[in-house]
């Protein structure tokens, strides 16, 4: 190195400092945006949120009264989505990782899931109207809306499950086969239990995505204001209510209130599932 002079304009030390600063700043900005949005919605919405707002029926199209029906509708459509999409998504992931292996079917399915994930939600909404409401004849109902949301949640659940299941060390499978287990016993008793934390995370990601959907359900659930008594009744999930309150100028105040409730539900779902996943993970991994 003697006689060779560094021709760098910026010394490595300086460039390291600059990059450190850039990374820290991007981190801070990301958190700031989240805090800002959450803070704004909670500050604007929380003043109208009280027990009555949560447990009362809407009056005058939601200009006053509460949002109980909407909470019930949201729970229904999200649960339907989860119940339908979870076995499909997890099943497809198990099939691809454990049975199909890397090949045409796997690539095609992955491509399909990516495409599904990138379709705008309003298109799902139109499809739901044409297919579930009209063609199958489920009418405007929570079931139609829930099924549209199931299709929307499917790619997320599938993708996260596939990544999780393929990251389960093959040494677990070998150990199981070595003891004389069949393929299904290995999947059911070793692979899936080890993959549960990832799968649950995927399911919650999918459900929190669809619980926030207005466009996808607006043509399928019917937007009724009365209390749904079964999944065959029409309903009005929270995001759709929020959308109608805001766009039809019914009550901006209550729109923010609805948004605040929605955000709190999503936060609670996320925190609770993270906590449970963490606890399970610690239990099986002994940490």
């Amino acid at each position: 190195m003697r006689g060779l002079k560094s021709q760098k304009i910026i010394s490595p030390k300086t460039s390291q400092k600059i990059m450190n600063a850039i990374f820290i700043i991007s981190g801070i900005i990301t958190i700031l945006i989240l805090v800002l949005i959450l803070g704004y919605i909670l500050i604007m919405g929380l003043p109208v949120v009280n027990l009555e707002f949560i447990f009362a029926n809407p009056i005058d199209s939601g200009a006053s009264g509460g949002i109980f029906q909407m909470i019930v509708s949201s729970i229904y459509v999200t649960l339907i989505a989860g119940i339908v999409a979870t076995p499909l998504g997890v099943g497809a992931a198990v099939y691809l990782v454990e049975y199909a292996g890397e090949g045409k079917i796997t690539k095609l399915t992955r491509f399909g899931a990516e495409t599904l994930a990138s379709i705008p939600s309003i298109v799902y909404g139109l499809f739901g109207l044409a297919f579930f409401v009209v063609a199958i004849g489920l009418g405007w109902s929570l079931l139609s809306g829930g099924l549209v949301l199931a299709i929307m949640a499917l790619p997320t659940i599938f993708q996260v499950s596939e990544v999780t299941i393929s990251s389960i060390p093959s040494s677990y499978r070998e150990g199981s086969y070595g003891l004389g287990a069949t393929k299904w016993q290995t999947i059911y008793r070793v692979v899936l239990p080890a993959a549960i934390p990832g799968i649950v995370t995927g399911v919650i990601l999918g459900m929190t995505r669809v619980i926030s959907e207005a466009a996808a359900v607006m043509f399928a659930v019917g937007s009724s204001l009365s209390m749904p008594l079964s999944i065959f009744d029409p309903g009005r999930p929270l995001p759709l209510h929020l959308y109608i309150l805001a766009t039809e100028g019914i009550s901006l105040e209550n729109a923010y209130g609805t948004a605040a409730v929605l955000v709190i539900i999503v936060l609670v779902l996320t925190f609770v599932s993270n906590y449970l996943v963490d606890k399970y993970q610690r239990k099986i991994m002994g940490r």
């Binding site: 677990y172 070595g178 004389g180 008793r189 239990p193 099986i284 991994m285 002994g286």
Partner: protein, 251 residues
């Protein structure tokens, strides 16, 4: 003496590569046989033909026969589940399941349809005792096996295998990921187990081979160059390649 395992003209291929060439050998009952040889010489592939673990690799094919107690292991009528129950396997890297210590040992029993909880817990204790692990884990059977040390995990994997009541235990470099103290414990355990089980152990450690085994086979490039009593093979190798290997000239 009765042979537990007999291998006749075994050739193994992965795709076009010829991994094992004309293997003929016999393993007698309740002995420890060490398989030595440089990396990639086919030792692991060889033991995996005995419990048909190679079947999991799509490109695997073979000619020749492997007999366990006179039964053709590759007979189409052979039940692989049953075979792997009789021929247990311990892997190079300890691979307990992410379950409790108890569940790890009970796993083999449960998959083979045993549901009687008392019978299972009796066998779990018995297996952990045989694997010289009971004293260390008896008060934390419900804890995750992943929290054990590497050496304890490997003994747990041996306990898990023993719980199936196998005839043969295949060990694929069981100590290569362990520290010297854990290695000693596993070796002591092998000494204890050879009364009841036929053990084949792949090892890169020639001292280990001399410490634990009665017989040794030297593998090179997919062939068995020499098989003999361990004492004889290491003291008086018949083949110059064996001598070169055990004196450290290559490998």
């Amino acid at each position: 003496m009765m042979n537990r395992i007999e291998v006749e003209n075994l050739n193994v291929y992965f795709g076009d590569s010829h991994i094992l060439k004309d293997i003929n050998t016999e393993i007698s009952k309740n002995t420890v046989t060490a398989l030595i040889g440089p990396s990639g010489c086919g030792k692991s592939t060889f033991i995996r033909t005995i419990n048909r673990m190679n079947d999991l690799i799509p490109s695997f094919s073979r000619t020749g026969n492997v007999y366990l107690d006179g039964e053709d292991v590759y007979d189409p009528k052979m039940d692989v589940v049953d075979l792997r129950k009789k021929v247990g396997m311990v892997f190079q890297k300890p691979n307990p399941f992410p379950k409790s210590i108890y569940e790890n040992v009970a796993y083999g029993l449960k998959i083979h349809g045993i549901t009687d909880d008392d019978a299972i817990s009796a066998r779990v204790e018995e297996s952990l005792r045989s694997a010289a692990l009971w004293d260390e884990v008896e008060d934390k059977l419900d804890n995750s096996a992943m929290g054990l040390s590497g050496g304890q995990q490997q003994r747990l994997c041996i306990a898990r295998t023993i719980a199936n009541n196998p005839e043969v235990i295949l060990m694929d470099e069981p100590c290569s990921a362990l520290d010297p103290i854990s290695t000693t414990k596993v070796e002591d355990l092998i000494h204890k187990l050879k009364k009841d089980y036929t053990i084949l152990i792949v090892t890169h450690n020639m001292q280990q081979a001399t410490r634990v085994s009665k017989y040794t086979s030297f593998f090179l490039n997919g062939e068995i160059i020499e098989s003999n009593l361990t004492d004889k093979l290491f003291v008086d190798p018949k083949d110059s390649k064996t001598e070169d290997y055990i004196t450290g000239r290559f490998g």
